[in-house]
Structure formats: C-alpha cells, structure tokens
Subunit: 260 residues, 2 copies
DNA sequence: CTAAAGGTTAACGTTGCGTCAAGGTCAAGA
DNA sequence: TCTTGACCTTGACGCAACGTTAACCTTTAG
C-alpha cells in the first residue's frame, strides 16, 4: 500500500518537486526506494508530510520544522519563538505601511518624491540605521514610538516648531553671523532643547539626569547635517550647513562635559 | 568634490557592497570612474542613492525602485500598488499568527501536533490549495473570513455539529448500510446542508439561488474524502470513506442538475 | 509496438546583498 | 625606498524553498 511521488503529492496537496527537495535535504525520506530509483511513500511518510506542510503553512522554516518533528518536545518552544517572530514582523509591516501611506500622500500633494526634509518633523525613517549604529538600537525605536503615538495636531505643532527652527537657522546663516555669535548660540540652545523633546535620544536622557554622551551626540548630529546634501541644499549650501555644525559644536563644548 | 565608495556608503548609511551591486544591476552608476577602476560618486548620485534607500525602506523591490526613479510620473501608481500588496501581506500575517496561536494552544493542551482532523470545524487550512484550484480563488477567502469572524461559542457549536455529523457517518458505515439507503441519503442531505452554511462554497451559492456546479462540488468533495487517508482512518478505513463518497454522489445525482 | 504518462538526476533562476578570495592602488612612516 | 595598512577592484559562492527546463529511463494503456 505505498504511493508514488505524484500520488502522495496530490494526497497532501503539494508537488513532486517539493518531495524530492525534502528528500534531498533529509527532511522526508521515502519509505522505500524501488530498483528503478522510484520513490515510494507509506502511511508514516504521509503523516509526516502532512505535519510538515501544516507547520510550513504556519510560516516555519524547513530546519525548524525538522527540529520540531524530530524532537517532539521542542514543539511548544519552537512555536512560541515563531509566534514572537511573527508578531515582530507584523509590527514592522504596520510601520512600513504607515510610512508608505504618508509618502504616498506627500507625493499626491507635493509632487516631489523626497519632499520630507530633515527638519520636517524629524525624518526618523531616514536616519534609522545611523541612529541605531551610533546611539543604540532602542533609541530609534523609542523615538519612533513617540512620533507614532502623537495625534495629528501634536504632529502639526511639532512640525511647525521644527520649521521655525529651521528657517531661523537659515536666516542666521545668510546674515553672515559667526558660529560663536550670540545669535548662533541661541539657536544652538533651541536646537538642543528641541532634541531633548525626542525620547530615546541622548539629549532626552541627559535632560532626565542621566549622563549619556550628549556632547558627542550634538556634535555628531552637526556633522551629519553637513554630510547630508539635502540639508545643505535647504540651508544655504555647504556654508550654511557648516555654520550650523560649527555652532552646535561650539555650544556642546561650552555646555557639556566631554562625554560618558 | 566627489566621494569614494566607502565615503558615500557612510554618508548614505549603507555599504560599499551594496553600491557595487547597484552599479552591477544598473540601478545607480558612479558619476565617474577613475583610470584605476575606482568608482567616484557626485552630488546627483548621492541624491539618487538616498531616494533609492528611502524607497527600499518602504519595502519596494529594486526593479520597482528603478521604475519609479526613471519614470517619475509612475511614483504614485507604484506606491499605491505597493501599499495594496503590503496590506495583503499584513492580512496573511494576521491569519498566520492566529493559526499559530491556536496550534500552540492545542499543543499545550492536548499534546499531539496534528490533533485537528477533517471534521473538526472544517479544517480550512488543509484544503486551501485544493479548494482554490477547483472552485475559484475567493471561495477559500470567503470561507476563511467566515470562520475567523465567528465567536468562540459559535465555533464550538459548529464543531459540535460537525462532529455529530461525522460520528453519524461512522455509525452508518459500520452498520453496513448501503450508500443508497434512506439512512445514508439522510446523512448526505445533512452533509449538503452543512456545506451550504459555509459561505464561498458552491453549495452556499446554490442555496442562494445561483447555479454553480454544486453537483460536481458535492461529488468531488466525496472523492477528496476517499483520497485523504486521514479521513479514511477516522471513518472506518477506505470502505467507510467510499461509503460516504458513494452516498454523496448518489445524493448529488438525484437532487442536482448536472452542473453549470 | 508505440505513445503517453510519470519517474530520475542535474543544474540554473529567483532576491539582495554578505562574505571570503586573490590581487591592484595609494598615502604615509621607517 | 621599502613596507605597511587602508581601500579599491573583479569574481564567485551562499542563502530559502522550491519552479522550471533539459535530457533521459520506465511503466502503463491502447
């Protein structure tokens, strides 16, 4: 009472190629092999195959499935871990959808694809990797959660504040003020306060009494601004960006201990 | 004022390998290539790279990104399609999570991985492909939505009804009744009514007055039962499954026009 | 006897790079 | 000047899970 590849494939709802693949990687061996090389599957193989397919539909990888089936006891833990992973994926997707929606709206409205600029409410998608690299994995997560948790009015207010700060920087830069001038240092102070309002940043931690490397953070941020041509483009070319950077560096040197 | 691979990679928050990849597939060519073969990137390239990375974070594929960037006008449509796709993915994930959760609970409670059998509330994951193949893509979707939309009590009731039907079939098969006996035909009627309660099936459409191929559907379902050893195992071996199949076929022949 | 149906192994294609491997180039110190 | 060491280059394999030819036997039905 054995079945051929095609037969068992149809019974279980899969393809013969899949069965050969599973044979190849050792996940499911045929119960018997004919002299002609044909694969034959018996009852036990079918049951195992169905379990494999069930677990696969749940999204588990083949190695994970093998583990579950071979050490029956691990099933619970494996499924638990998998569930956790699925939930993270779900979160990621939700954020992505949100981003796409906003981008789509921006495109519909403005036109240009990359209309969102640096100060337009802290473009947190753009600097994700950089932020994570330099100031820890969860800094971005916190900032992101904070932003997503705001209502539309709050977001508008924040954007307004950001834009105001940005245009003041531009005005100062174009007026030819020096980076260590009072005007520039006042702007630097506002910028730092602005940063402090964003949870997850070292600036926020510093405001709360903790002592991260706020000096390095502020200085580094200035360098990021100069390095980013979108920023320079909006703030009067490289000279404008350099002005912001210098002002921030000087402010940081004057007001913060040298790191950690 | 050009940048080397490493430099531009850091500026944009990616790696040199990625840049070489993009060069290879023609997504982003260097602005200039040195006599030594070195790649150098200018301002325009950096802007394009940043757009690429932004779109990538939104989850678009590289070919799609190329299309968006090269035919600026398509951006809106491309993003719209992408959003749609993301939402479907989200749906899929949600269903998967639900399945994993239920399976996990079943494992915690009962133990055996594949405790869910055929009639245990219509195992809709198991026959997905088959159902889609034979009776259209959205039949499964409708049935699935219906099932997921039920409350726990409703589900329990449904399971109860299903189990009752199943055990009645078993009893009839084991009593040695003929497939065309009154008893068997009564069971067939109940089975068809049971099927009618599941939205998306041809049986449901038929109940609503539409005329899909309900005869083929009912008959085919019977064949599926026989082909499935899990079914036969639970219903008294192949003879029991054959009994069900025959009874259904006879019932279908007697009560439904021959298809479409 | 022949053709159709079904079986076999072998090997490339898919997605987006990470990761060696082997070897030029360039700026700077001994 | 020679030697590091850092950075550059072009291949080419690896990953996940099969789909899809390709080229070639075996079994089965007519």
């Amino acid at each position: 009472m054995d079945w051929s590849v095609q037969q068992i494939a149809k019974l279980a709802g899969t393809t013969s190629r899949t069965l050969r693949h599973y044979d190849e990687i050792g996940l499911l061996k045929p119960s018997r092999t004919g002299d002609n090389g044909y694969r034959y599957y018996g009852h036990a193989a079918l049951v195992r195959l169905q379990r494999i397919l069930l677990l696969r539909e749940l999204g588990l990888g083949l190695p994970a499935i093998a583990e579950v089936l071979d050490h029956e006891s691990d099933a619970e833990k494996a499924l638990g871990r998998h569930l956790e992973w699925l939930r993270q994926e779900q979160d990621r997707l939700a954020r992505q959808i949100d981003s796409v929606r906003r981008t789509l709206e921006a495109v519909k409205g403005g036109g240009e694809i990359m209309a969102e600029k640096m100060f337009d409410g802290f473009d947190h998608t753009r600097y994700q990797e950089e932020v994570e690299d330099r100031w820890g994995k969860d800094a971005y997560a916190k900032g992101d959660a904070w932003w997503r948790g705001m209502g539309a009015e709050e977001k508008d207010a924040w954007k307004q504040r950001s834009r105001q700060l940005g245009s003041d920087w531009i005005a100062a830069a174009q007026s030819g003020a020096a980076a260590d001038s009072d005007e520039a240092q006042q702007l630097a102070r506002r910028q730092v306060e602005w940063l402090r309002a964003i949870p997850g940043t070292p600036a926020a931690a510093h405001a709360a009494g903790s002592n991260g490397d706020i000096r390095g953070y502020v200085t580094g941020l200035g360098e990021m601004y100069v390095a980013d041509p979108r920023f320079s483009a909006n703030y009067g070319g490289e000279s404008g960006a350099a002005f912001v950077r210098d002002a921030l560096r000087i402010y940081a040197e004057r007001h913060f201990q040298s790191g950690r």
